[in-house]
Symmetry: C2
Subunit: 180 residues, 2 copies
Amino acid sequence: MPKMLVPLAEGFEEIEAITIIDVCRRGGIDVTVAGVTEMTIKGGQGIEVAADCLLDSLDIDNFDMITLPGGLAGTLVLSESENVQSILKQMKEQGKYIGAICAAPLALHTADVLNEEFTCYPSIENQIRIDGYHHDQSTIIDGKVMTSQGVGTAIDFALKIVRELQGESSFKELKESILA
Amino acid sequence: MPKMLVPLAEGFEEIEAITIIDVCRRGGIDVTVAGVTEMTIKGGQGIEVAADCLLDSLDIDNFDMITLPGGLAGTLVLSESENVQSILKQMKEQGKYIGAICAAPLALHTADVLNEEFTCYPSIENQIRIDGYHHDQSTIIDGKVMTSQGVGTAIDFALKIVRELQGESSFKELKESILA
């Protein structure tokens, strides 16, 4: 069972985070929700979600993927957290999958782990780079780095993570069962 | 500011609940998340969400709409809860809006507050009635009762709630900003 880490920081975008966790668990991925600094984390729309554990309690070698939800305030914490930035670099070096949606590709850029081709929430590319940015695709997969645009593309993004980690038949079956 | 009540019971579908709360708050609706029996509620995919209050602490006269997330286990609690069933009947009598997605239209049926035309997660209609069931539309609005199909239609459903309560321009602006 592939293992995915989803770090949550105050101000995370709730639909993006929950969609990634829920769809990937439905797709047979073992998802760990880790609080960056606290065990209960408030999202950008005021919804409090409980983490499974704190980020610094984890052995990162156990994970096959890390995926960052968006939300601008949450993304800034992920960009400024030494722990998150160090985990991103470590997972990139180990050839693990890395994902980010909405504003969060900025946190990948800060860690210098983005590949050439990417997408993000429109206008965030101005803080990353125009080169390699795609405004017209919901989700971009470049090697093992997956990026997506925002709330409206979260299900597409999560389903494509399932396709990468679990294969085409899991993807198709799940897509149909959630009416996506 | 219109007020909407979202009751959460253990086993609720997380994407549906969070999408309704998040999108409607973005759309300027004052959403209260109420635990049916507890202040921290675990969804069907194991994600724990904090309620704003307990359901029995509320004055129902203050609300313009009640919306039920799906998830089969959560729906059974909503169908069996005397408090939830009584609130549904009270809001129907008062001409308030009532919404439900996925399995949750079954809880509306139990309270006898569904209107003629409805939709739900495919196969749940067998526990409601075939008459008036639409399998080919994401969201059905019949009078003040709104129903929708499931995870993949949750954003459409939430946006249509915003359109009903806040009008066309709020709907369009929000739809564009979340890339839906």
